[in-house]
């Protein structure tokens, strides 16, 4: 179980896309992430490095034949941070819906007491 915690690192648009993609996967190939998100090699490398240094992403390098293949996956800490971020977003949304619902009720109450 996770607590709601808004995460500025995940909140950045490009990193949100990367982390969302990785959250749905056990692991994903570097080229797959790059192509699906329409990012350049350098941008993706930079964002993955940031996420890796925060401990959110694990990078795995291996060889298939003579070709190097790089894949990325969310670390347990990254998955937890993502869950907490999602929880925080849902809380913001729920609070806003609650406020929107409560406002007309409060106005109606004021109307009754004002008579």
């Amino acid at each position: 179980m996770s607590t709601a915690r808004f995460d500025e690192l995940i909140h950045a648009p490009k990193r949100l896309e990367i982390v969302s993609l990785l959250a749905a996967a056990q692991w994903a190939d570097f080229k797959y992430i790059r192509d699906e998100l329409g990012l350049s090699d350098s941008v993706l490398s930079k964002q993955l490095s940031i996420l890796e240094s925060a401990g959110y992403v694990q990078i795995r390098k291996r060889f298939v034949g003579k070709r190097p293949r790089t894949s990325a996956s969310l670390s347990p800490a990254g998955r937890q941070a993502f869950d907490q971020h999602v929880a925080a977003l849902q809380r913001i949304l729920a609070r806003s819906q609650h406020d929107a619902h409560a406002q007309p009720v409060a106005e109606a109450d004021r109307g009754i007491s004002g008579r």
């Binding site: 995460d7 950045a12 959250a23 996967a25 080229k31 929880a87 925080a88 913001i92």
Partner: protein
């Protein structure tokens, strides 16, 4: 905001509209991953064609035709099954639970058994009734079952994985917490 900014409890500036957009983006990316691992409809037609070819070759009773068509058809099927699916899996592996995997294995195994049962029982019955081309008809029926049930299994897999992904998203806020 710097790209390398460290995580910190914040979010007070994030509006409900932004939060909704972010959640929609997360859901969209989940669906994108799930779609990537599902095989396309043409895959089932490509698997069905060699099955019919094997049946027709068997009914031709021509050893040369059988010697060429059957190994070729088996090779095509082996390439499709053995190479196409791992190729997709080499790019991305969906985050799934053992329950989801178990259900999918049962669905795929059930489809294979159904196709085999249709081919064998129909071919044997037609052969016993001295109907011409019994194996071809049996294989064509089995291929038809494959073409129909294959996309159904894919649809089921899509539904299962999507509901699992949504469940994970819905589970997130239940613990309460420290959002400002």
């Amino acid at each position: 905001m710097s790209d390398a900014q460290q995580p910190q409890p914040a979010g007070t500036e994030t509006t409900a509209t932004e939060a909704a957009a972010e959640l929609a983006e997360i859901q969209r990316r989940q669906e994108q991953v799930i779609k990537a691992v599902l095989v396309p409809v043409w895959y089932w037609w490509a698997l069905a064609a060699p099955i019919v070819a094997i049946g027709a070759a068997r009914d031709s009773r021509n050893l040369v035709v059988q010697a060429i068509v059957i190994p070729l058809a088996v090779l095509v099927m082996a390439v499709l099954i053995g190479a196409a699916i791992p190729e997709v899996r080499r790019r991305v592996k969906v985050h799934s639970t053992p329950q989801t995997d178990g259900r999918l294995v049962v669905a795929i195994f059930g489809m294979i058994v159904l196709v085999d049962v249709v081919i064998i029982s129909l071919a044997a019955s037609l052969s016993a009734a001295h109907v011409p081309y019994p194996v071809t008809i049996g294989c064509a029926a089995g291929a038809a079952v494959l073409v129909i049930t294959g996309p159904l299994v894919v649809w089921y897999a899509h539904k299962l994985m999507l509901s699992q992904a949504r469940q994970q998203l819905n589970d997130a806020p239940q613990a309460g917490g420290s959002t400002p």
